[in-house]
C-alpha cells in the first residue's frame, strides 16, 4: 500500500468519525461523546496528513499548530457562557478565511509557476475564495452584533438588494476572469476576496441581533462548503467529505433552528425583523387599557405562601437582568415551605437555543426541575402560581388566536391556565416580536413592574417576612 492509499483510508476513517460524532451531538445522552468522537476524527486527519511524504518543513507547522492551539484553547476557556454564540461566530470566521488562504496559496504556487491547472482547480479556488471570505466578514458582523459592538438593530440600507446583486455579479465576473486567464491570477483572486468581504458585511448587517444564532449556523454551513471547495482545489478527499458533510448538516440545522423560532430562512435573511416595534395587529392601548393589575413584592409574597406548586417561566429579561440567582433563592425559600418548584423551558426563550438551561444551570437549579414545553403545558392547570420572569413572546396567547400575528403558530407556554400568573418586567414594552401581550391584561395576572433582579430580591425579602410574621 502506498502512502496515498493510507492517507485516503485515514480520511475515510476520519469521515466516519465525523459522521458518528455529528449524529451523537443530536442526542442529549451521546452529545459529549459525539464531540469527542468528532475531535478524534480531526486528530486522525491531522496526524495522517503530517505523514505525507511531500511535507518537508515541520518547523513552520509546529509553530502554526502551537500558536493556533494556544489561542483557541485560551479563547474557549476564558469565554463566559453567554458569550459562547459569539465565540462560535469568531471560530467560524477563522475557518472561512483559512480556506480562502489555502486556496490562494495553492493558486499562487501552481498558477504562479506558469502551469494551467485546469478548470476544476481554478473554479474551485474561486469558489473557495468567495465563500470563505463571505464567511469571514459575515461571522465578524454576527460577532459584533451579539457582542454589542455593532448595532444589533436590523440595518436596512436603501437599495441594498441592488447593491448586493451587483457585488455578486462582479464576484462571478472575477471568477470567470480567473478561469479564463489563470496566468494573471492575483488580481481576480484578490478582487473575489474583497468583493466577498463586502458582501459578507452587507448580507449580515440587515439581520437583527436576535436572529444571529441562525445566521451563525448558516455561515457555519458556508465554511463547510468553502472547505469542500478547497478540497476540490487540492483533490483532497478528507476536505471534500468533511466539508460537504458539515455544509449539508449545517444547512439542515439552520432550517431546524428557523422552524423552532417559527420563521422561514428567507424571512431571516431578508432581515428587518426585531428592529421595529409593533405595527400590525391590535394596538397596545386596546389590549391593555384599564385591565392591568399592578402588584408589589409584598402582595405577591402573600399569594406565594402555602402554595402547592409554583412554576417559574424564564425569558430573555431574566438573562438581561442576570436574575437567575435570585430565582434560585426564591425557589429555595418556596421549597423550604413545602412548595413544589418547577421551571418551564420554552425552546426559543431568550436569544439563543438553550439560553435558559445554561443560566439556570449556572445558578445550580437541579436539572430535573427544568421541564420542556410539551411536558409542562398540561401541568399548568394544576399550578397555583406561574411566575413569568422577563418572558413575553413565549407566553403570548396571540400566537394561538391571531393568524396574522408575527408569532402566529409558534407553540407557547400556557401559563394562563395557572390559578395566578405573576409577570415580572420593567414596563409594558413588547418583546422580540414587537407585539402586545393580552396575557398581561388577563384576570388572573398580576404585573410586577421592575428590573427582574431587583424584583426577585424584593420578593425574597418579602416572602421571608411573610413567613416569619
Amino acid at each position: 500500500m502506498d502512502t496515498q492509499t493510507i492517507i485516503n483510508a485515514a480520511y475515510l476513517l476520519a469521515a466516519v468519525l465525523f459522521i458518528t460524532g455529528l449524529k451523537g451531538l443530536t442526542k442529549p445522552k451521546t452529545a459529549v461523546r459525539g464531540n469527542k468522537i468528532g475531535s478524534t476524527g480531526m486528530l486522525v486527519a491531522v496526524v495522517v496528513t503530517l505523514f505525507d511524504q511531500q511535507i518537508l518543513h515541520y518547523t513552520m507547522i509546529v509553530v502554526g499548530l502551537i500558536i493556533g492551539a494556544t489561542i483557541g484553547a485560551v479563547l474557549a476557556i476564558k469565554i463566559q457562557m453567554t458569550g459562547m454564540p459569539q465565540m462560535v461566530a469568531i471560530f467560524n470566521g477563522f475557518g472561512g478565511i483559512a480556506s480562502t488562504l489555502v486556496a490562494g496559496a495553492a493558486l499562487l504556487e501552481v498558477t504562479g509557476g506558469g502551469d494551467n491547472p485546469g478548470l476544476q482547480f481554478l473554479m474551485a479556488s474561486g469558489i473557495s475564495g468567495l465563500i470563505g471570505s463571505i464567511t469571514f466578514t459575515g461571522s465578524f458582523i454576527a460577532f459584533g452584533k451579539l457582542q454589542g459592538i455593532v448595532t444589533s438593530d436590523s440595518v436596512l440600507l436603501p437599495g441594498r438588494h441592488v447593491v448586493n446583486g451587483l457585488l455578486g455579479i462582479a464576484a462571478i465576473g472575477a471568477i470567470v476572469m480567473l478561469v479564463t486567464d489563470p496566468s494573471a491570477f492575483a488580481v481576480p483572486y484578490l478582487a473575489i476576496c474583497l468583493l466577498a468581504f463586502l458582501l459578507g458585511v452587507l448580507l449580515t448587517i440587515p439581520i437583527g441581533g436576535a436572529d444571529m444564532p441562525v445566521v451563525i449556523s448558516l455561515l457555519n454551513s458556508y465554511s463547510g462548503l468553502a472547505a469542500a471547495a478547497t478540497g476540490f482545489v487540492l483533490s483532497n478527499n478528507g476536505l471534500i467529505i468533511a466539508g460537504s458533510l458539515v455544509g449539508a448538516a449545517g444547512l439542515i440545522l439552520t432550517q431546524i433552528m428557523c422552524k423552532a423560532m417559527n420563521r422561514s430562512l428567507l424571512n431571516v435573511l431578508i432581515g428587518g425583523f426585531g428592529g421595529e416595534a409593533g405595527g400590525a395587529g391590535t394596538s397596545a392601548d386596546e389590549v391593555y387599557e384599564g385591565k392591568i393589575k399592578s402588584s408589589s413584592a409584598e402582595e405577591i409574597a402573600m399569594v406565594l405562601e402555602d402554595t402547592q406548586r409554583v412554576v417559574f417561566v424564564p425569558g430573555y429579561g431574566m438573562a438581561v437582568a442576570q436574575a437567575q440567582h435570585g430565582v434560585k433563592q426564591l425557589a429555595n425559600l418556596l421549597e423550604k415551605q413545602g412548595t413544589e418548584v418547577l421551571y418551564a423551558i420554552h425552546p426559543v426563550a431568550g436569544r439563543m437555543p438553550g439560553h435558559m438551561n445554561v443560566l439556570l444551570a449556572e445558578a445550580d437549579v437541579p436539572y430535573e426541575q427544568l421541564i420542556d414545553m410539551d411536558d409542562i403545558n398540561p401541568m399548568f392547570a394544576e399550578t397555583d402560581v406561574a411566575i413569568v420572569i422577563g418572558a413575553n413572546d413565549v407566553v403570548n396567547p396571540v400566537a394561538k388566536t391571531d393568524p396574522k400575528s408575527p408569532i402566529a403558530g409558534m407553540p407557547i407556554l400556557d401559563v394562563g391556565e395557572a390559578r395566578t400568573v405573576v409577570v415580572i418586567k420593567r414596563s409594558l414594552s413588547p418583546g422580540f416580536a414587537g407585539i402586545p401581550n393580552p396575557l398581561f391584561a388577563a384576570d388572573n395576572t398580576l404585573m410586577f413592574f421592575a428590573d427582574a433582579k431587583a424584583a426577585l430580591q424584593d420578593m425574597v425579602a418579602a416572602l421571608k417576612e411573610t413567613v416569619d410574621a
Partner: protein, 94 residues
C-alpha cells in the same frame, strides 16, 4: 495526487446526502452545541493549511499557509473545546 473530477464529485454528492440525512431531530438545547461542533469539523481545512505550510514551497505560499494554519487551528481547537464546555453546562446536574 489528482483524481478524476467525477470521482471527487461523486464523493461530494454522497457526503452531502449523508450530511442532510444524519441530522433529523435535535432538541433545542443542543442546537448551539451541535452548531459549534459542526463548526469545529469545518475546520478540516486545517489539513489543506498543513500541506500549504509544509510542502516547502515559496516564502509567500508558506506565509499564506502559516496564516491559514493558525486560523484553522484556532477554529478546530477552540471549536471542540468550547463545544465541550457548553455541553458540560447544558447538562450539568444540580
Amino acid at each position: 495526487m489528482s483524481q478524476p473530477f467525477i470521482l471527487s464529485l461523486t464523493i461530494f454528492v454522497l457526503a452531502v446526502y449523508v450530511g442532510f440525512e444524519v441530522i433529523t431531530k435535535v432538541p433545542p438545547t443542543l442546537h448551539t452545541p451541535l452548531m459549534s461542533g459542526a463548526n469545529a469539523i469545518s475546520g478540516i481545512t486545517i489539513v489543506g493549511a498543513l500541506l500549504s505550510t509544509g510542502l516547502g514551497l515559496s516564502v509567500l505560499t508558506t506565509a499564506l499557509g502559516l496564516a491559514a494554519l493558525i486560523f484553522a487551528t484556532i477554529n478546530v481547537v477552540g471549536g471542540f473545546m468550547v463545544t465541550h464546555r457548553m455541553l458540560g453546562m447544558f447538562q450539568k446536574k444540580g
